[in-house]
């Protein structure tokens, strides 16, 4: 290692030699950097999980345009939309089909815990608006009071979820109606509820007698092949008489929801702060590690300065140390953070994931913070007379 670094720098690898001189101090410095990494990783993981969880239900449906009430900041918030606007939208030549989407919370009173299920009422004869497993299993929804359950619902034992099959359905009572679960799909808890459920629009109206088929929560549209959803949405804003409605492409709706969750909702803002605090604490730790190291070697640096070494030489040593600490501290930090996020994901069913993007950000952030800390720490050396430092 030492020989390789010597060739790389064209000088003795002083940073490496002085870092590894005391193994315990080196281990402590690496632990500090690793801890800073873990801190930022966990905060980033939590923030990212909110984004993933917010976008998740949008993936259950396949649509090009979404029409929502003016106060519908997210999928589950806001009033409903009159079905007549769906009929008006279908008048546009580039709108192919449309459907209504009903959303409400159903509480499944279980012996140990009440499950809050975000429940979607969909038209079972229009499976083209569904995706994946839900689409494949939507046939059973045509049965009366039938439902598909998110098998990753928080508080639902895995074996119990696995037992729910068309041959062995499971029934429970909610708001005076007996619901029968014929199958499950892969959802995964979000911040809003414990899990998801999909039922037919008829079943939905049985569960919620106060709702009417004429006023779904959202209207989903599909455009004809080749048409641009954004352009069609823009045209529909002119076409539809109610000018207060939110009419935008499905992708834009998901993005609006995400922005709303991140900037307007307390949870999103708190998670954002968590990342900022994590980064600040991480920088302080890294600065402590580097500035302590520089302070410990001030006498030796002063000697080098007396011998005629310039400021670039000292910056070189510090950058060398920053790189070594950044790289070697990242490895344990990454491993521990991945383990922690996995544990947290298990406990909360939130999508807490280590992503490549996070890893890159934290890695380069750490090396940059190390280098900057070192550069600041060597300023004292630049200003002082060598004779004063001995």
């Amino acid at each position: 290692m030492s020989r390789f670094l010597a060739l790389l720098f064209g000088r003795l690898p002083i940073g490496w030699l002085q870092l590894t001189h005391s193994r315990t101090r080196f281990a402590a410095a690496l632990a500090g950097v690793a801890f800073a990494n873990v801190l930022v990783f966990v905060q980033l993981g939590i923030m990212n999980s909110m984004a993933t969880a917010t976008v998740k239900p949008y993936l259950f449906f396949d649509a090009d345009i979404m029409i929502s009430a003016p106060d519908a900041n997210s999928m589950t918030e806001g009033g409903n939309v009159a079905r007549q606007w769906l009929l008006q939208a279908l008048a546009d030549p580039e709108v192919a089909t449309g459907t209504g989407l009903f959303i409400a919370n159903v509480t499944w009173q279980r012996p140990t815990k009440a499950l809050a299920l975000t429940t979607y009422g969909v038209d079972p004869v229009q499976p083209e608006f569904l995706t994946g497993e839900i689409k494949a299993k939507s046939g059973t929804l045509q049965l009366q009071n039938a439902g598909l359950l998110d098998r990753f619902s928080r508080g639902l034992p895995r074996d119990e979820a696995a037992a729910i099959r068309p041959q062995t359905p499971l029934s429970f009572e909610a708001s005076g109606t007996t619901l029968t679960l014929y199958d499950t799909f892969a959802g995964g808890g979000g911040f809003g509820g414990d899990g998801y459920m999909v039922v037919s629009d008829q079943t939905f109206l049985n569960l919620f007698p106060a709702r009417t088929s004429g006023a779904p929560d959202h209207i989903l549209l599909k455009v004809v092949p080749g048409a641009d959803p954004d352009a069609v949405a823009l045209r529909l804003r002119d076409l539809i008489s109610d000018k207060t409605l939110r009419i935008r492409s499905y992708a834009a709706a998901a993005q609006e929801d995400l922005t709303y969750q991140q900037t307007k909702r307390p949870t999103g803002i708190i998670f954002g702060f968590g990342v900022i605090i994590g980064v600040l604490v991480g920088i302080v730790i890294v600065y402590q590690v580097l500035s302590t190291d520089v302070a410990d070697h001030l006498r030796e640096y002063a000697t080098f300065k007396a011998m005629g070494y310039g400021q670039w030489f000292f910056l070189g040593i510090v950058f060398e140390e920053a790189l070594i600490l950044g790289v070697l501290g990242f490895v344990p930090g990454f491993i521990v953070a991945t383990g922690l996020l996995t544990l947290m994901a298990k406990a909360t069913t939130l999508p807490l994931l280590m992503t490549g993007q996070m890893a890159m950000m934290v890695f380069f952030g750490t090396v940059a913070a190390c280098a900057l800390s070192g550069a600041i720490a060597t300023r004292r050396l630049a200003a002082a007379d060598p004779a004063d430092l001995f």
């Binding site: 000088r11 003795l12 007396a306 005629g308």
Partner: protein, 235 residues
């Protein structure tokens, strides 16, 4: 420039203060000094007389506050850091404390005295460092870390480091204090020989009588003033 060649160090009207405000205290008073090329000049005096301060001012280790120091043809007072760095590269320092880097072996410490001059063939630097260490009697301790060397041995590594770069001027602060009789006189032999053969000028602070006897010139300081200046009769 003949004068510069003959006198690599010329100090004129040097005054220096330590501390600030009420605590400000003058440490040096009107020091005037011309050091001849190739000579061994020794500064003596009681502790606190300003010997080390003079040494660090002449050696660009401390900013000159008042007066002039002309070193190797350049004015040091008010010089830019680039010039100071360039000048320091032409000097060799042997400090009272050995000031070796504890993470570097004896050989690596000496190599630092070479690498200051820029990239250098590692094999060549290796040989030069080993040679310098052999000259100070440490040929069998090349790859020892300072912690595994005795005080005298560390001091000799510092001597090798100061001389390996073939400096124009050597500044030494009590270089033989931690050395036994033989290694002490070896160091002086080496300094005398460098002076004779390469014209290396040495300014040294010492109390060592063995060195005083062999110095070309002895300057005595007291309370920040030069009180005596004796040149030895040419040998």
């Amino acid at each position: 420039m003949a004068a510069d060649d003959d006198f690599p160090i010329v100090a004129q009207g040097l005054n220096h203060w330590f501390g600030s405000g009420e605590a400000r205290k003058q440490a040096l008073f009107d020091i005037n000094l011309r050091v001849r090329r190739g000579s061994l000049t020794v500064l003596v005096g009681p502790s606190g007389s300003g010997k080390t301060t003079v040494l660090t001012l002449l050696g660009c280790l401390r900013d000159v506050q008042e007066g002039s120091v002309h070193l190797l043809g350049h004015e040091v007072h008010g010089a830019k850091s680039d010039l100071l760095i360039a000048l320091r590269k032409r000097l060799g320092f042997i400090f009272q404390a050995h000031n070796l880097h504890v993470s570097l072996t004896a050989r690596q410490n000496v190599m630092m005295g070479l690498q200051v001059h820029g990239r250098i063939d590692p094999a060549l630097a290796d040989r030069a460092a080993a040679h310098a260490l052999t000259l100070v009697g440490l040929g069998d301790r090349l790859d020892y870390l300072p912690d595994n060397l005795s005080g005298g041995q560390k001091q000799r590594v510092a001597v090798a480091r100061a001389m390996v770069g073939n400096p124009d001027v050597i500044f030494a602060d009590e270089p033989t204090a931690a050395l036994d009789r033989d290694s002490g006189s070896n160091v002086v032999d080496m300094i005398k020989r460098l002076g004779r053969e390469r014209g290396t000028t040495t300014v040294m602070v010492t109390h060592d009588n063995r060195i005083l006897d062999r110095a070309d010139r002895v300057i005595t300081l007291e309370d920040g003033r030069i009180v005596a200046d004796t040149e030895a009769a040419p040998a």
